[in-house]
Symmetry: C2
Subunit: 378 residues, 2 copies
């Protein structure tokens, strides 16, 4: 195990203990809280709290002072994942069925809300632990972070709804800064600095480095998602293409493809991903056909009537076309180059903040992140 993996593992163990303590303190209703712990206890790296802890400690903060706030960031992340999985209709998360698959959408929506509800108590308890000034600073950062995350998510969903394609890489990065960078990198670093009582200008000087990390991290996430699509396992993979997410790769392909191909791609993107409804319909009709009650023409006629006015949905061939377009127009190397550019820019930013952070194991961990975000495999 590398030093960095050990650092992550140690932080994660501390965060999970803290999380259990927060849950215990919240209420005596054990069963209500066991579901809340489901996602947090699954295999995960715990990047956000580790980053927050490392910044706080590098700046001279005490572990026990930062742990509750770092844990709140992990709680928020898990609430985000539960709701995101419902939004994306995901089947799996961290190697097990998504929460709404095992507990149903109602319990899963409520569970995400329950995790969000748990974030406030530790942040208010910070007033006694850190004093009013630092506690309020952390609350301010947290408050702005949740609003930004909402905006980023809303922007991404709206581009899909609007069929947007004429977007620059900067548009994409602006969305990602709000959707991912904020709650995954920038806010954890700022919370760490605030907990440590660093001067405001130190807190703000950290931002560019972590923003670069966040951008590189999300682009790598998008690349990994697409990569998994190449194996051709169908609907469950290349999920971003099925969902029509406006990634750098897709936007690059749409901008550079000949008009005819672009139009075809846009027509595909305008189609919804197959709903459960229509997957069921296909299964039922296949069954009826197999039992010899219906021929193919009959099945298609019925299928057409049930697909609200025949509105088509994306097919495997459609997604293969999108994937081909991305590859033909160099979407992957384009995005990879941008991610590496952010990692390189992060290195340049590092020079400006390493003196602030001093030299410690925590600082070494933070420096390592700039390679990790572009080289990670999951």
């Amino acid at each position: 195990m590398s030093f960095q993996e050990a650092y992550l593992a140690e932080c994660r163990a501390l965060v999970l203990d803290e999380l259990r303590a927060i849950v215990r303190a919240a209420g005596s209703d054990e069963r209500a809280y066991s579901t809340l712990l489901d996602y947090p206890l699954r295999r995960a790296k715990g990047l956000r709290p580790a980053l927050c802890i490392a910044v706080a400690r590098a700046l001279g903060g005490a572990l026990e002072d930062v742990l509750p706030s770092a844990t709140v960031l992990e709680i928020y992340h898990n609430a985000f994942l539960i709701h995101d999985d419902i939004e994306d209709g995901s089947l799996e998360r961290r190697g097990a069925p998504a929460l709404h698959q095992t507990h149903g959408v109602p319990a899963a929506v409520n569970c995400g809300d329950g995790l969000l509800a748990l974030t406030l108590r530790p942040l208010l308890d910070n007033t006694e632990r850190l004093g009013l000034g630092r506690a309020l600073r952390v609350l301010e950062i947290y408050s702005a972070m949740v609003v930004e995350t909402y905006e980023g998510q809303a922007q991404e969903l709206r581009w899909i709804e609007d069929g947007a394609w004429d977007l620059s890489d900067t548009d994409y990065e602006d969305m990602v800064q709000r959707k991912t960078c904020s709650y995954s990198f920038v806010a954890p670093a700022r919370v760490g600095a605030a907990v440590a009582g660093a001067p405001h200008d130190v807190e703000h000087r950290l931002v560019p480095f972590f923003r670069r990390l966040g951008l590189a991290f999300q682009i790598q996430d998008d690349l990994l998602n697409l990569e998994r699509g190449r194996d051709g396992y169908g609907k469950e993979l290349a999920g971003d293409l099925w969902e029509g997410k406006r990634t750098l790769m897709l936007l690059h392909a749409l901008r550079t493809a000949p008009a005819g191909d672009r139009d075809r791609a846009l027509a595909i993107l305008a189609r919804p991903r197959p709903s459960r409804r229509s997957t069921e319909l296909d299964l039922v009709l296949a069954e009826v056909q197999a039992a010899g009650h219906l021929d193919r023409t009959g099945a298609e006629a019925i299928a057409l009537r049930f697909r609200r006015g025949g509105a088509a949905e994306k097919t495997t061939d459609d997604v293969a076309f999108l994937l081909g377009l991305v590859e033909a127009h160099g979407g992957v190397p384009h995005a990879r180059a941008i991610a590496r550019g952010h990692a390189a820019a992060a290195e340049a930013e590092w020079v400006r903040i390493e003196d602030l952070l001093g030299s410690s194991v925590h600082t070494r961990f933070l420096h390592w992140l700039k390679d990790y975000v572009v080289h990670r495999e999951w």
Copy 2:
């Protein structure tokens, strides 16, 4: 328009202005925020913020001091409704399609999260408006409130999942205190008192009155839901019975019915409400039958295979049976008597707090609520 209706209307107009200001201050992304305003701008009474404003002003607080916190309660309520409508699969809300029906589940889940995200900024701004002490008190109340609401919702969902029936009226009331009383009555009153800078003991002495109001309010809500089921319009009505909610009426019937009837009722309650999946399946199979490709036996065989191991769902007859059981065993008068008991107890509690509240239009409004909660028609 009665004096109380005018009071509600006036508060509501102020709250909506404040809400628009909060949304404007949050970000420049107008379209992200127009969806957030959808539910709040629909026809509604605005009971929670009006109650909060009335308590604050009765206790000598200034309108401008309480308005942001009162608006936060209304924002929270709307976030709760959006997520609750997804959880219950509701079609309508306040006379228009539910948000997830018009914008889809992904945008609706995110919209609820966006409203929740907006609640923190005004509560943090309270530090400048009210001073640290009062601002933190409001945050404490809010934090405990969101946790309680989660617990109440989780409890209700779990009773359904567990097929619970051997529950006392007190069990029901304990759940309702967390699910509804807390965020709809008790917390708004406490926030009003905290904003006005009332001594802690005054804040706590208000609680019993408002808890009684909350209990009566929810029981009346349950009665209205059942009432609408009597018209026999089917699945969309008596929604609580379709969902298997453990109301006072249902619990009373389950406790007093002969064992045979109870067993039948429990068997019905153990069945899920018809899913969209199975409604679709029935439609498809009916179509195939109508086209002459399949006979009834064949259709049933296929339907059985698709209903995971043939697990039955509730039918209209099932729900009619539950409704009949509730009526036969006096579930409605039982619940109505309990609601009236809470209203009477509220009147008794009133005597203990009216001196604290003094005599003003705000106090008169609050006193009126004890009749309103049991006599309201919507």
